[in-house]
Every structure is written in C-alpha cells, then in structure tokens.
Symmetry: C2
C-alpha cells in the first residue's frame, strides 16, 4: 500500500504499523512452524536412528518409572529410588560406547566415593561434636580440589571426566549429609543400588533395542573420508582441464565434499574414546585397535590439506592459459584418476574389512603416469612459454605428485590397521577390461563397489 499519506495518517503511523505487525503475526508464526517442521523432518531423514534413540529414551525412562510404582521396590529403596530414573536420563546416550562409558564411570565412581565418604564420615565423628564439621569441611575441600584438578589431565578428561564429577558428587552427598543422619551406610548403599538399577536399565535398552555402535560409525566415517578425497580427485581432472566455462553441477558437489575432512579431527577423537568402551561386536573383536584409526584419520587429513591446495587452483584468478594446461592434460588426468581409484579401492576394502593390496596397483599406475608427467615437464616443450603463466599448471602437477606420496602413506596405515584388526586377507587381481569400466564409472554413490576380482583367499 504505497498511497500518499496525510499528516493525520502519519500521526497514526505507529498504530497502523502496530496493526500491520499484529496482522502479519499469524503468517510469521506459520512460516516459523513450517520451517521448524521442515528442519525436524530433515534431521530425522538424515539419520533415522535419532528418532529411534528418542523413543528408546522414552521407553527406558517409562520402564524405570513404572518400576518405581511397584510397592516392593519402593519399600526397598525409599525416596532415593528416584535416583534410578535420574540415572537413566543422564546415562542413556546415543551410542553404546557413550552409554557404557557413562554407566561404568557412574557406577564405579559411586562405589568408590560412597566407601570413601563413609570413611571420612566415620573419621569425622571420632573427633567429637565440635571437630566434626571442621573435619568434614576439610575433607570436602581437599577432595574437591584434587578431583577438579585431576579433570585437567588430558587422559582423565578423555575417558573419566564424568566419573570424576560423580565421584565428587557422591562423596559430598555421603560425607556431608552424614552430619545430620546416622544412616550414612544405608544411604550410600541405597544410592549405589539405585544407580546400578538405572545404569543396567539404560544399558539393556541401549544394547537390545536397535543398538548404535559408535565403533561402526567411526569405521564408516574414516572410510567415507577417504572416499571423499577420491571423489574430489575423480572430478578434479575434468574440472581443471575443461575448455568451456560451464561446469557439471554434479562435479561441484564432488569438489566440495572433502572440506568436512579438514575439520574432522575432534569428532574422530571423541568417537575413538567412546568406541574403546564398547565390547566386541560383529566384525569388531575384543581389543579392536581403535587408536590406529586416529593415525589413518590424521594421514587422510594431511592428504586433505594438499587437496585443499589443489582446490585453490580451480578457483584461482591466476590461471594458466588453456594451451599450457593442454600440454600436461593427459598425464595429469591420469595421475588424478589413478589416485582416485586407489583411494576408492582403499575406502571400499577398508569398509568391508578386507585386506587386499589392490589399491597398490593403482598407486603403481599413478606413479607411472607421474613419471610420464615428469619427463614431459623435462622436455623443452616449454621454451616458448611464459614462466609466470606456467606456474599454476606446474604447481598443480607438483601437488599431484605429492598426493601420490600421501596416498601411499594412507595405504600403509590402512594395511597396518587391517593386519592388527585381522581383516580377511584377499589377493585381488583386477582384470584389465574391468579396470576400464571402473575408470569410466561416474555414479553418484560415495563409494564405488569393489570390482569383481579374481579372488584367491590366502588365509
């Protein structure tokens, strides 16, 4: 409504605006609601296990609450039976590893703290009515200080942070409340047994109803990160040496996927810490070498940094002219594609927990292509060219050569991990025609299937 306003209307301005704001309120509310609904749906679709987990938490808490209704349990635990419900709320996490870690931390810390708290209480009562509060306060101060400081140790923080907190909490609960109540021992016992019930209920629901093994997630995520680098390298050749300006939309998403690898360190570390709590399950045996995943992850990230440098040449303002790029196009593309195939092989076999040297073949191929590239760079082909114009192309070539080294290191680390985790051993030789079919493969899946191989089971 862009009508000319009279002074009368102008003075009514705030009121009119207020009315308009009020009128737009339902619309805004609708928009907001739709937005939230859309996000909720996306969150559920991205990982349906989130919905399952929410239902699991509801189930576990309801079960323990119902338990609480039963007379015998009530008589046994008294009011502190609520601790069982609270334990479920606090302990039941998304993954089995996290739940087990928290549950064990909570149980062990409670047991030790209850014993220590009881001891402190006894010692304090021995010192008479006047000395008691002073002694208890001193104990609490010392234990609180030490426990808090211990939480700063990186190793303690990674695995026992929650336990430390619960230890301090229970210690205070038992030793301080004891001043008013002679039934300290009973209280300590009650607290421990209710926490035991709550933790066990959480663990049973967590493991028995659609369990989420964080170790499996870690395994998949490390494989997926390797595959993301492969996707970049697969698309890179075509994108860098393309002649026209328009680019494949599909390529664009491939070219950006690797960026999440750059910042994956902290989430990987968290996953390793949780995975170490998990018992053997499925293909992941007892004492699975979870810590070695960190090494593979670090090497993948080192490679991702190089890929990031490569990516900057795609969008750089300073570009080598097409004719110069054209000269190194063939071997560069080959290095890039062979590197991509090697990484895809690795990702795929690693994911399937198969020990094979099939990636090595692609690495060898990429090295051959690298030699070609080097000899091409050595020839006097370049003499008429302007060095400044050549630099970006030369840098790309140099980065590709370095990426081969990175991939070799990843391959070794993956192999080492495979041996330590006793992956199945397979001697794979890919037939040449199948190899061609993989090279031309450009499907959308993050990880290409392992090619049909002439498989000889070695062990």
């Amino acid at each position: 409504m862009e009508a000319v306003t009279s002074p009368q209307q102008e003075s009514n301005g705030p009121i009119i605006r207020g009315c308009q704001w009020l009128k737009s309120l339902p619309n805004k509310f609708c928009d907001k609601t739709t937005e939230i609904a859309r996000r909720t749906k996306k969150l559920g679709q991205d990982d349906p296990r989130r919905i399952v987990h929410s239902l699991k938490v509801g189930l576990a808490i309801t079960l323990v609450s119902l338990f609480y209704y039963f007379k015998p349990l009530y008589d046994g635990f008294g009011n502190s039976a609520m601790w069982a419900v609270l334990t479920v709320v606090v302990v039941l996490e998304f993954s089995v590893g996290a739940t087990l870690g928290k549950g064990l931390n909570r149980m062990l810390a409670t047991l030790v703290a209850a014993a220590l708290g009881f001891g402190a209480h006894r010692l304090a009562t021995l010192s008479g009515r006047k000395g008691e509060p002073i002694l208890v306060a001193t104990f609490v101060f010392i234990i609180a200080g030490i426990t808090t400081f211990m939480r700063f140790f990186p190793k303690v923080k990674a695995r026992y942070d929650y336990g430390m907190m619960i230890f301090l909490l229970t210690f205070c609960l038992v030793s301080v409340s004891g001043y008013r109540d002679d039934q300290v021992l009973e209280m300590a016992h009650e607290r421990f047994s209710t926490i035991l019930v709550g933790s066990c209920a959480s663990l049973i629901v967590c493991i028995c109803v659609c369990p989420v093994w964080i170790g499996e997630d870690l395994h998949k995520s490390v494989a997926a990160n390797i595959a993301k680098l492969a996707n970049f390298l697969q698309a890179f050749g075509d994108e860098y040496f393309k002649e026209s300006e328009e680019s494949n939309e599909n390529n664009k998403s491939y070219l950006q996927g690797y960026r999440t690898v750059l910042t994956s360190k902290s989430s990987e570390e968290t996953m390793v810490n949780f995975a170490r709590w998990e018992p053997g399950h499925g293909p992941f045996g007892y004492r699975h070498p979870w810590k070695m995943y960190l090494k593979v992850g670090n090497l993948t990230r080192d490679c991702a940094y190089k890929v990031e440098a490569l990516n900057s040449y795609l969008n750089s303002k300073i570009q080598a002219p097409a004719e110069i790029r054209g000269k190194i196009q063939v071997p560069c593309k080959r290095v890039s594609v062979e590197c991509s195939l090697a990484l895809k092989e690795m990702a795929s076999t690693f994911r399937k927990m198969v020990l094979t040297r099939s990636a090595v073949m692609h690495i060898e191929n990429s090295k051959k292509a690298a030699e070609e590239l080097k000899s091409l760079l050595k020839t006097s082909l370049w003499e008429e060219a302007d060095l400044l114009e050549m630099i970006p192309a030369a840098s790309v070539a140099s980065l590709l050569l370095e990426i081969i080294g990175c991939i070799e290191k990843i391959s070794e680390a993956v192999n080492e991990l495979g041996k330590a985790a006793s992956f199945r051993k397979i001697n794979a030789t890919v037939l040449p025609e199948q190899q061609d079919s993989i090279q031309q493969d450009s499907n959308n899946t993050a990880i290409v299937p392992v090619p049909h191989c002439v498989i000889v089971v070695a062990e």
Copy 2:
C-alpha cells in the same frame, strides 16, 4: 647378568623372574610417581588458573556444605538441601561463560519442568486411581521422546543441551514421584529453590574469585593463531633459502607452531558458545560480536592450509637446486617477511583492540615484492634451467603469492570485527627507520609489540 644357566636354574626361571619383578616394583612405583608429579607440575605451570579453579571448586562446595549445617536452612529445605551441594558440583565450570550457561540452563529448565511436571501430575490425578499411572507414563514417554529429539538440533545442542537434560530430569522427578506423595508442589518448590541457591553460590564464587572470562581467552587465542602463522612466515624465508644443512633450533619450533591452528575449529566454536553467555566485562561490551570471531578464525585456518602446503616444500625430497632457489631468494624472502609483519601487526593490534590500518602498509609492501617476483619469473632468466627442477621453487613462489590474498581477507575480517566491536581507532604511520628495526627483529615472543607510531587519534 648374562651367566650361563644350568637346567636347575632354568626350572627356577619363573620364580627368579617373579622375584626380579617384585624387586623392580618399588623402582617402577617411584618412576611412575615421579612421572605423575612432573606432569601435574607441568599442568599447573602451563595454566596456573587450573590450580585456582580447583581451589575455587573446593571453596564453593565447602561454603554450601557449611550452609547446609545451619539449622534454619535445614528446616527450610529439608533433605533436598543436598541439591544445592550437587548443583555446585555440576554447575561450577572453569570459565564464567560455561558456569553462567549451565547455571541459567539449570535454573530455567528446573522452573519450567517443575511447573509442567506439576500440571501433568494434576491432570493425571483427575483421571482417577487406575488411569493415573497410565497417564503419567504416557506423559513421561512423550516428553522424554520430544526432549531427546530436540537435543539433536545443532543450535539447541550448542547452547541448551544441558538445559534439555535438566528439564527432562526435573519433569520426571516431579511428575513420577508425585504418584506417591501429595506434596508435589512443595517438592517442586524445594528443588527449584535449592538449585537457585547452588547456582548463585557457584556464580558468585566463579565471578568474584579470579574470574576466567572465556571471551578473553577466545580473543587471545584468535590473535595467537594469527601470530603463529606470522612466526612461520618469518622463519620460512631463512629456512627455505638456507645454504648449509644445519638449521636453527629456534626456527624449528617457529615452523611447527602453526600446526595447532589447523585443528582449532571445534575449540573455537565451543569458546564462542560459552562467550555468548558472558555479560559485558572489561573491554568486551554488551553484545560483543562473538560470532564474528568464527569468521576470522576460519580465514586464519584457510591461510594455515596454505602454510601447511608451504611447509611440505621445506621437508620435501624433491628440492629445487640451490642456484635456482637463489635466483628468486630476494623477492621471496621479502614477500614472506612482509606477510609475517602484516600478520604480526594484525595480531598485536587485534589483541590490544586497536583499529588501525598499519597492517595494510605491510600488505602493500608484500604486493610490491610480489610484483618483483612476478617480473623476475617472466624474464628469460630460466631458459637454461630444467623445468622439473624449477617446479618446487615456482610452487613456493606461487603459494606465497596466494598467501598475500589470504592475509588481505583476514585483514578485512579483523577490520570488520573491530568496527562492530568498536575498537579504539588509531591512524598509524610507521617511520621508515622503525620499520627496518622491526624487520630485523627476531625475538622469541609470539607477538611483537606494536611499533612506536606517529599516532593521531581520529575519534
């Protein structure tokens, strides 16, 4: 003891070994203790605020415990007064931001959940004796499911994760326990007031006794990250173009410092989330643009990825011959040093919250040097050289040129942040002789002081 052993001795092997193990036990114990003591000392020395924090936790818990001894308080709160002690254990964190975030989350969540739980309880009692447990269980199931799912929203997870947990916990506590006890309202009130006391005690101790402002830490850490890149670039020129093999130990540590920048993303995000809870303090006013620190951090990391690529040429097996490197030495070193100076200026003025364009001058200088480098690369100087040998040197030159672009972006982001946070405005013009003195400066401090400037305060 490598004596020849008789069969008799051999059969005694396990016993002897057992004895030796037992003998070595005290030594091992001593070693372990010394090791732990050494680490503890280092942890305290690295950040003495850790020791202060431990004492603060001890103090706060002891204070609240002593409160608990007082008869009036005990009469007022009853047994649930222990919640006050527990709240301190759980809420009192290292930084003010984290403590405030947790405290406010806990208080608000308890208030809302207590009200809602009371409502659920009333609704359930209306449905009669038989319907009550069913209705309560249904409510608990629904609320638990929804709350758990909401914790998956990234925004909720970042700021209200703890609140969500406490909400669920209190809701269960109030609605479920209500089944046995008619004093639900009293209980809800008790729980809220004890948590209020505990949270306030934590906040008072946290803010009044040597407060740790996480916003300040974030500010310093972003500045330090920029300074780390500057240190690398300062040392890089000498290291790359050095003629002899031996290298400066000092340089080595400079050259590795930037690596922590690569993986600083998650810690920066955590700090921003905590800092947003903090009230205005010192130079950080109300509504300080904490989120803009993320942008500066991201650009710094982008630059660090380039520095990582540069670093790989330091340790690469394929090295350009010294004579080729020698040809580009002068302009390359100048670009590197000017970039380093620009970053140091930025880090220093940013840290001091001063808005100055003095870094721009160094960026301009580095651009001039870059032009020199480019024209050098254009000349026919290279014709006799082998291109393959030249590539590493050319790549280094190209990376240095790109780093200039990165630094410009950081400078813009820092400037933007400075304007939004209303840093002091200063027009600085560095005198030429002072500029020389900075160039030759190679002291050990991470951040060089801002040079004495001809300062004209503009606003």
